[in-house]
Every structure is written in structure tokens, then in C-alpha cells.
């Protein structure tokens, strides 16, 4: 069976996100005041084959641990369809 996976990779809480902070500081000048907690992560989509949804999920989670995310500083979430 073929599955489509969407992976959201985000910086763990407490890890500095200079990119998000810089965007946040720039927004008021563009007329957007009060925007808070801007964090920038990655969104990865992919397709894979597996015999069951649970196998597909397990595979994608393993890929996250090994390659797609950097578990030292990043957390991830997997959605399957």
C-alpha cells in the first residue's frame, strides 16, 4: 500500500530560534503588531510503501530519528494519509 506522510519538524522548546525571533522583530514595521512566539521549523512531505498504516508510521518515525530531524535540538510529528 502506498502512504503519504507529512512531517513537521520543530525546534524543541527552550532551543533558541534566531530565525523566528528575527521575523518577530520585523513584523511590527510591516504593520503587524502583537505577533508572538514566531517559530520556524520544517515541513517535509513524502510517499512510501508499507503493509499497514502502523508500519508506515513506524518507518517514517524511524526516518525522522535518523535523518529527517535532528533529535538533539528538534522534535517532530508525523501525519499519515
Amino acid at each position: 500500500m502506498s502512504f503519504a506522510a507529512r512531517v513537521n519538524v520543530t525546534l524543541k522548546d527552550g532551543v533558541a530560534d534566531p530565525q523566528g525571533q528575527t521575523i518577530e522583530r520585523a513584523l511590527p514595521a510591516l504593520g503587524y503588531s502583537g505577533v508572538r512566539n514566531v517559530r520556524v521549523g520544517k515541513r517535509i512531505t513524502l510517499e512510501l510503501d508499507a503493509t499497514s498504516p502502523s508500519e508506515a508510521r513506524a518507518l517514517v518515525e524511524e526516518m525522522c530519528e535518523r535523518l529527517l530531524a535532528n533529535p538533539v535540538i528538534e522534535a517532530y510529528e508525523v501525519e499519515l494519509t
Binding site: P18, Q19, T22, I23, A26, A29, L30, V40
Partner: protein, 226 residues
């Protein structure tokens, strides 16, 4: 050959000093302009130098294009003044819509600092009038996001209008159609990834960059005489 050059400095720009030095070697009269200014001093040429404006955060050039000075740069371009965007400056010009296309990450996903050969595709611009058509210039690149892209229709238009000014000989970064530099349709705004300011002295390996800077300074000098 004096020409009044404004070098715009964004927070995170880092090639402004180098542009200044190389342009001054060619006799230009340079002024640095901080990005938060709303007006340019009296000027013939605006340089958007290389670097990492706003850290290149979000996308290269994405935040810089909103700097207050950019309205004045746009006015300068619209009234026919010369604008050259080098590397990060090119990225900013694309984000600002002053030049078409966008710059993606290099195909190798690596930052590349190296000498490249650039073919001059048209001498019909104020930036290349001192070059010979087809001439190959040796100038370094220094970027992570130099992989230029635009839609097929846009590319057709650029080709038809002779707006592709430089192509790489040996594509270093995956750029569409080997494009290294383009001008706008009025031909007074140039964006290019390679750094001409790094190639204006033999001691540094090449003087070919002086052809680009020299062309634009000659252009404004002759315009003055008219």
C-alpha cells in the same frame, strides 16, 4: 571617471567595505547609506552589496526588501538610475520585484566560495558596455542561495529581450539556463550572483570585475557629458 555611488548597508550586509574599496580604486565617489534612511543622497548608481541582510532569515532578501530605503531605490530605478545588486543584493532585488525570478538553495546544498567563469551574453547594458560579446570573465561566487529560477514564460521573455547578461560556463549551483546575472526590461537594474568587487586587483587573482564596475561608471560619466 568619477561617479556618485550609494552603497546601501542593511543589518547583516558584509560586502559594503569591499565594494567601496574596489569602486574607489576605479575613481568612484562612494557613500554608505543605512537601510533605515528614506532618501538617497544625490547619486548616479545604487549598489546593494553582498552579505546576509537580516541574517538571511526566512528567505534571503525577504526582510531586507521592506527596509525604508528600498522605496528610494525603487524610485531611483524608475527614474532611470543604475542599480546593481550583487549576491545578496540580487536576492533582495528579486524579492522586491525589481528583477524577475527567485534564488533557491544551490543544487548541492552547499555554500560555494570559488572562482567561476562568466560569459558576457550581452554588451547592450550599462554594466557590460566595456566587455566584448561572449567574453569570459573570471569572478568569484560566494553563496548558498544562487540557484536562480523563474517560470518558463518568464524565461522566454528574458531571452527574447536579451535580459540575460551573464551565464556561467560550467553551472556551479543548478541555476536555470546557467543564469548568473540579469537586467530588468529597462536595462538599468542588474542583479548578479558573482562578486565583481572581489576581482578588481591582480593581487587577488583577477581584474575582470573592473570591467563591470568600469562600464557602469563610464556610463554615468558619459550621461553627464550629454
Amino acid at each position: 571617471m568619477s561617479g556618485r555611488v550609494s552603497i546601501v548597508v542593511f543589518p547583516g550586509s558584509n560586502c559594503e567595505q569591499d565594494c567601496e574599496r574596489s569602486l574607489q580604486l576605479l575613481g568612484a565617489d562612494t557613500t554608505r547609506v543605512w537601510h533605515s534612511e528614506t532618501e538617497l543622497p544625490p547619486t548616479d548608481i545604487v549598489v546593494l552589496p553582498g552579505g546576509f541582510a537580516h541574517g538571511d532569515y526566512l528567505r534571503t532578501g525577504a526582510l531586507a526588501r521592506f527596509s525604508p530605503i528600498m522605496a528610494a531605490v525603487r524610485d531611483h530605478a524608475e527614474s532611470g538610475g543604475l542599480v546593481i545588486g550583487i549576491c545578496n543584493g540580487f536576492q533582495i532585488l528579486c524579492e522586491a520585484g525589481l528583477l524577475p525570478g527567485a534564488l533557491r538553495k544551490n543544487a548541492q546544498l552547499k555554500f560555494l566560495c570559488k572562482w567561476v567563469d562568466l560569459r558576457v551574453e550581452t554588451v547592450d547594458t550599462p554594466f557590460t558596455s566595456q566587455a566584448i560579446p561572449g567574453e569570459v570573465l573570471r569572478i568569484p561566487i560566494n553563496h548558498f542561495e544562487g540557484n536562480w529560477y523563474c517560470s518558463a514564460a518568464e524565461l522566454e521573455r528574458l531571452r527574447a529581450n536579451d535580459q540575460i547578461v551573464f551565464r556561467y560556463v560550467g553551472n556551479p549551483n543548478g541555476s536555470l539556463d546557467d543564469v548568473a546575472g540579469i537586467v530588468n526590461d529597462k536595462r538599468n537594474v542588474l542583479g548578479l550572483m558573482p562578486h565583481p568587487e572581489r576581482a578588481c586587483e591582480t593581487m587577488l587573482g583577477s581584474e575582470d570585475g573592473a570591467k563591470i564596475f568600469g562600464s557602469m561608471l563610464a556610463h554615468v560619466a558619459s550621461a553627464l557629458k550629454v
